[in-house]
Amino acid sequence: MPLRRRHLLLSALPAVLPAVLPAHAQTPRRTLVQAMAIDDMISLDPAENFEITGSELIGNLYERLVQFDLDDPSRLSGQLAERWTVSADGRGYDFRLREGLRFASGNPLTAAEVVYSLQRAVRLNKTPAFILTQLGWSAANVAQRVRQTGPLTLSLSVREAFAPSFVLNCLSSTVASIVDQRALQARPEGWLRRNSAGSAPWVLRDWRAAEIVVLDRNEAYYGAKPRIERAIYSHVKESSMQRLMLVRGDVDVARNLSPQDITALAANPQIKLTRIAKGTVYYISLNQKNAYLARPEVREAFKWLVDYEALGTTLIQGIGRPHQNFLPHGLLGASDAAPYRLDVARAKALLAKAGLPEGFQVTMDVRSSQPVQGIAEAVQQWAGRAGIRIEILPGDGKQTLTRYRARKHDLYIGEWGADYWDPHTNADTFARNPDNSDGAAQQPLAWRNAWAIPQLTRETDAALLERDTARRAADYERLQAQFREQSPFVMIYQQQQVAAARAGVEGLRLGPTSDTTFLAPVSKR
């Protein structure tokens, strides 16, 4: 190339380069941008949704009769309900709504819409419907049990004299969200899966699966409006990418960070970390269909073969804390008891007592994701020291779950998040198994591990009917004490969620459940 032409090209470079350089990384001033893995979303219909991201969105798009206090989750307050009374026999609930409520569409929100929404969720009978049908409501009787008694009043009747906190907690879940009946009438079936018709401070503008979700401020909101105009959830799966985007200022908040990235961001003065103990617990379960694992001594031995402390300071640092009970912190009756620690000698003695001094071989179904995979490998090492040879069977989440639900596993590492903010949600699955036969209609976690527990099931049912809150809490503590000793579940840790936000973001607060991370109080400097 002649020298002059080369010079000409080189001198043009500074003029060309800025054209391809990115604009200064900054999110729009009145828009909150969050980097988050949102590919779990399937439906935004409150009667159908049971995914984490969907629940968070529904919590921001819809309102419910009651809600729990984020500062003290054991306390309930009215959201749409102004007040309520419980009948003397404990089976009737009368609600009165606040005046002047309306949906984002401008349609008024009255008792008719509340009754319609609750009846609709029961009649559709999708996955989350059990939260309402356990109150004794069915497609056949819900018209009688959920009735409008006036423009702003309604009456609910439940099957038994349940603890009022249980009934109200069920009504605070996403499936009990109130939808705009009139808006739905003109829409095709299934419209609500991808649109919103709620009364909360936000409306859904756009959802592109595994790409982006955009919420706009509900300008017709009857209460205090959000200070930002738009909230965007941008799908970024990788933790390291979320971190880079946050540091560069391309997003305001990063929601799925690994322990390493959390540690790195903690030292950055431009970033604030927000933490909350979530209602999700992680466990290892032992299928009682396996003759080795069914021996009580083996069940106990496994609980002595986990180094809970080491897990807390390594694999789950920043994203969880060791926890040996089925009720997560924050729920009524939660316990801090932690009797187990790594004690290989004790585990060996138990195995010898079980007639297995040389140990045995089992398989463990493990999702190929962290920290589950790391925990599985650690447990494999610890159990190996006692002679238990664990073969890890890796698979994706749906594969391992399919085997687990079919009771085809030996060992399984699982997680369980509270479906609603009441202790029964976890007691119902860990400590209740009304029918252990293969074709059982109800298949809680105790069933999945073939753990037959008629007595514990009765005690769990009794706790549900205890109307005195203090005595109810004591009931759950007792249930957990028995569970810790006898169950085929090795409870490992409670999840801690961490969000990292840029320093200019204020008012961001994570909720203990996925539907209680509210965006309305968030603002940006």
Binding site: L21, P22, I42, V214, V236, E238, S240, V247, D250, G439
Partner: protein
């Protein structure tokens, strides 16, 4: 001519049906319950049974497959379990993202890979050849996931030269109307230069990264084809006639090497159009690769089959096109 055309159509149809049959069967034998994706972990046995009935999973496999093929023949790829949309509309949304990325990748790969391959062949055994070989080796062996992260950490996070993950800054989310789905083209059509700059800055790194992996393959193949041509008798004759070395290499040898090279470039392009899952994941690029992978993980078989059909069609289409170009470039094959 008509017989030839009919034979071609028949072989295409057979290929597509075979592709669908294999994908369909694999989808049905994987140990994942598709109903779980719809109903979720908390579903009761009765609810799961209802979902299976809704999805037609209780029918015999041949009935399920027959119904699927009949629907496909009418242009209906079914609905995705995960997104709730028609698979055709999902693919219409994600494929342009992959098309844009792959096109930038192949242009980059071919525009640099071919000259590098020629250079390496001309300088066979010398330092230049070793350098090109080393570059190819890194391209073959470095994990794209790692390389993508490193490139982002350097060019995006540290130097700020390029845009980060995603196709465009969120500030331009609704300022450009999606007409073609190709972000650069849509920005051009909208006359929004700031948006164009943002889209280009987001595309350059993943495009270059994909291009680098194509480049490694294309440069190696170019070198090999060129070595063969440079040792041919017509090159000796050209030299004897006193033609310049540049003319011999670029006008004569490369022209003959271009014929097989076309197939290499076409296959590389088709490979990129499948959607590079890892690149799309690292760069949060909402393309076909990520769509099919998500669908596979959730046993969303309509989406998997639809995506596979598109990939198959792309391969067939590109092969056909390269055959035609082959004939055009080389009269002996007509």
């Amino acid at each position: 001519m008509m017989r030839k055309f009919a034979g071609l159509v028949a072989s295409l149809l057979l290929t597509v049906i075979g592709l669908l049959a294999v994908t369909f069967l694999i989808g049905r034998v994987v140990p994942t319950d598709p109903a779980l994706s719809v109903a979720g972990d908390r579903a009761t046995a009765a609810q799961l049974a209802a979902v299976r009935e809704d999805l037609g999973l209780n029918r015999p496999l041949y009935v399920q497959f027959g119904r699927y093929v009949a629907a496909v023949a009418q242009g209906d790829l079914g609905a995705s379990l995960l997104t709730g949309n028609a698979v055709t509309s999902d693919i219409a949304r994600v494929f342009p993202a992959t098309l844009e990325l792959a096109t930038v990748g192949i242009v980059f790969g071919a525009a640099i890979g071919i000259p590098l391959g020629v250079w390496a062949a001309v300088r066979r055994g010398r330092l230049a050849d070793q350098l090109v070989r080393l570059m190819g080796l890194v391209g073959y062996s470095a994990p794209i996931f790692w390389l993508g992260l490193m490139a982002l950490a350097l060019f995006y996070a540290r130097l700020g030269w390029v845009g980060g993950p995603g196709r465009i800054n969120v500030g331009f989310l609704y300022s450009v109307e999606a007409r073609s789905g190709l972000m650069l083209l849509d920005c051009l059509l909208a006359g929004d230069w700031e948006a164009l700059r943002s889209a280009a800055s987001h595309l350059v790194l993943p495009g270059a990264l994909l291009g680098y992996f194509s480049l490694a393959y294309i440069s190696r193949m170019t070198r090999s084809f060129m070595l063969k041509e440079l040792s041919a008798e017509y090159v000796v004759a050209a030299r004897a006639k006193g033609l310049s070395e540049a003319r011999i290499v670029w006008r004569h040898a490369l022209r003959n090497a271009a014929v097989p090279l076309l197939t290499v470039v076409a296959l590389s392009y088709a490979g990129l159009l499948e959607g590079s899952v890892l690149t799309e994941t690292v760069f949060s690029w909402p393309g076909l690769g990520q769509y099919i992978t998500n669908a596979l993980q959730s046993a969303d078989m309509n989406a998997v089959l639809g995506g596979t059909l598109v990939v198959g069609a792309v391969f067939i289409g590109i092969n056909l096109l390269s055959d035609l170009l082959y004939r055009w470039l080389d009269p002996r094959t007509r």
